[in-house]
């Protein structure tokens, strides 16, 4: 390993980057919402070649991606974590 990292106060003047300002994060979030809206609207423009029926529905991939991801995170948080999480030194005995 190389030398220890230098620790600075992240809130000190000059240390805060563009990305760390709250208003900019909000801007990025809104940009993402806009892109998502455009992508769903494109479904009406581009004829999608459906492989198996269900995926021919408008917004299928958008809904699947969103619901799947939210489900993944919530199940991991509320079902898996209580089952498997132990203290960091669980095996050190």
């Amino acid at each position: 390993m190389s030398e220890e990292p230098r620790i600075v106060d992240p809130n000190a003047p000059g240390e805060k980057g563009w990305l760390e300002r709250k208003e900019n994060v909000t801007k990025i979030a809104w940009a993402l919402y806009a892109v998502c809206a455009v992508l769903v609207l494109l479904d009406f423009v581009i004829h999608r070649h459906a492989e198996m029926g269900a995926d021919g529905f408008y917004g299928f991939y958008a809904i699947y991606g969103f619901v799947g991801s939210v489900g993944l995170v919530l199940v991991a948080k509320h079902v898996l974590r209580p089952l498997v999480m132990r203290s960091e030194d669980y095996y050190d005995d």
Binding site: K16, M85, S87
Partner: protein, 565 residues
């Protein structure tokens, strides 16, 4: 070019690495993968280096398009690994890495099961040094568990090949299938190395405990050698479709709650292997091409992701999500490389994962495996979630940890740069990769319909992340240990062993105590009667002696008369 087994060449060429130092060692190590690549490129298809042993034909160099694809990508991975670890001083890791890569390359060109077995075990033995070199107590424990499981896989392979030899009279390494007991044993051996569900946890245990450079090497060879072996021996074995589907889905839940970012990558590695296993199980030309292509792209982007996290570990000294954040300011190039790797594993159009993973999904759809297709699509969204977003976000952005470090060493940056170029290059020009796949490819990844559906899937997965973060529903990173199947041998097995030991020792103690008491009593009795004060040792009066003699005589006479009648 010479027709010498390239794997064996690398193993032999690792010997001088033990004595070479400085720039000489660097040149030697950089030249070897280049030479090996040239050898593989010029090898004609067919079997070379056949020799007879045990009355069987050993084929040390069986060349066809399937072995060549894996041979190429293994050599590329070795080249990247060598550059990435140039700054490491001691030779142990360099030698281990070279032998490990050589063994893996030897294995993909092995035409019979005995040669495969030898190389199979050599990958296990060589690679364990990459974990041991970390030098921590946790690494030592993980290394021993890794070695036992890997060597165990080899023992199963040996048992399987002997049974199969008995069943079929042949040790050829071709299509094996599940018809005989030998085939089942060999599948189990491959399954351990491929990290099948429930046989998987050695991977998440060992890889995060290896050195920053060692994990990069480890991520490339062992599991993809197993994928190659499955494609060779079990193409079209339907059970693999379901095994693979489970493999794509369950590790991503663990990845979401894991704090050690290299362990997150180990879980996502497991998930990516699932896609390849599904491809092998479907077994059509498109599916097998997909499995081979995905192994190829995956080795490079996974190495890239591990390189970026290795650089963070090297500079910051930790890769725990709770300790990181804001590193994009100190390590901008590493950040960029990590994002390229993340985009590739997430299968963004124009990145390498897109042109390989979609072949497997299309193959599943063509063969009407609807449920499996649905699972793979869910896993695709999930992998973006934890590898595509979580890894770069928590390491380089998120909450600024205030840690300021130097950018990664130059050799690490060069390796990450080359890997990034390969990821984008393959994504933009897939035809070069398609040309070396086992079967002719007439697959077109870039149709507007396909690009749109993939981009929708990914952006809405990103939307889900954003919404969960901004509403505070996203689970925070927590310092913790998460149990997985390793609990069965690290805790339950240990407890059971401790319990058995306690039982045996108490039983032993009981018997021991009992026998000690018995012998003590016996000795005391002896002492009482025969000791200096004992009744037998006393000097008796002559009269009593005569009395005893008389009694003896009477008894004798009595018995004598009894006998007469």
């Amino acid at each position: 070019m010479i027709e010498f087994p390239p794997g064996l060449l690398l193993i032999l060429a690792a010997l001088p690495v033990t004595v070479l130092r400085g720039p000489l060692r660097a040149i030697w190590m950089l030249a070897l993968p280049v030479v090996a690549f040239a050898i593989i490129y010029t090898l004609p298809d067919g079997s070379h280096y056949a020799l007879t042993a045990f009355g069987q034909q050993l084929e040390l160099l069986r060349v066809d398009s399937l072995s060549k694809v894996f041979g190429y990508v293994f050599v590329i991975a070795l080249f990247l690994g060598v550059i990435y670890s140039l700054h490491v001083g001691p030779s142990t890791e360099h030698v281990a890495g070279m032998v490990y890569a050589g063994a893996a390359i030897g294995a993909v060109f092995a035409g019979d099961l005995i040669s495969l077995f030898v190389y199979w075990e050599l990958t296990a033995i060589a690679s364990v040094f990459l974990i041991l070199a970390r030098g921590t107590e946790a690494a030592l424990g993980a290394a021993m568990r890794y070695l036992i499981i890997q060597v165990g896989s080899g023992v199963l392979l040996l048992a399987g090949l002997i049974v199969r030899w008995h069943e079929t009279g042949s040790i050829e390494f071709g299509l094996i299938g599940l018809d005989g007991a030998g085939g089942v044993l060999i599948l189990l051996a491959f399954g351990i190395k491929a990290a099948f569900p429930l046989l998987h946890n050695w991977l998440q245990d060992a890889y995060p405990n290896a050195t920053p450079t060692g994990t990069v090497m480890l991520s490339a060879f062992t599991t993809k050698l197993a994928i190659y072996a499955l494609a060779r021996g079990y193409a079209g074995t339907e059970e693999l479709i379901w095994i693979g589907a489970v493999m794509t889905a369950f590790p991503i839940f663990f990845a979401v709650v894991e704090n050690d970012l290299r362990r997150v990558l180990a879980y996502s590695l497991n998930n990516q292997l699932g896609f390849m296993v599904v491809g092998v199980g479907i077994g059509t030309e498109l599916a097998l091409n997909g499995a081979a292509a995905h192994a190829f792209t995956h080795i490079i982007y996974k190495a890239l992701l591990f390189m970026s996290m290795g650089a963070v570990l090297h500079r910051v000294g930790t890769v725990l999500g709770t300790e990181l954040g804001g590193l994009y300011k100190s390590m901008p190039f590493t950040t960029g490389a990590c994002i390229v790797g993340a985009a590739s594993i997430s299968a963004f159009p124009l990145f390498s994962g897109f042109i390989s993973k979609s072949m497997i999904l299309s193959a599943a759809a063509h063969e009407h495996h609807y449920i499996v297709w649905g699972v793979l699509l869910f896993a695709s969204a999930g992998v973006f979630h934890h590898s595509g977003i979580k890894i770069p976000f928590f390491a380089f952005f998120a909450h600024d940890s205030g840690k300021r470090v130097k950018e990664a060493p130059r050799n690490m940056l060069v390796a990450m740069g080359i890997a990034s170029v390969l990821c984008i290059g393959i994504g933009v020009w897939p035809s070069a990769l398609y040309a070396i796949l086992p079967f002719d490819v007439n697959y077109v990844p870039y149709t507007d319909s396909h690009v749109l559906s993939q981009v929708q899937l990914l952006f809405f997965s990103a939307l889900a992340f954003t919404v969960l973060m901004r509403t505070g529903l996203y689970p925070p990173e927590l310092r913790s240990t998460n149990l997985d199947t390793d609990w069965f041998y690290r805790r339950l097995g240990k407890r059971a062993l401790a319990g058995t030991a306690a039982f045996v020792s108490s039983v032993y103690g009981g018997f021991y105590g009992l026998s000690v008491r018995r012998s003590k009593r016996f000795v005391e009795g002896l002492y009482r009667h025969h000791g200096p004060q004992g009744i037998i040792a006393r000097t008796w009066p002559t009269g009593s002696m005569v009395l005893w003699v008389a009694i003896l005589l009477v008894t004798y006479l009595f018995l004598y008369f009894l006998d007469i009648f």
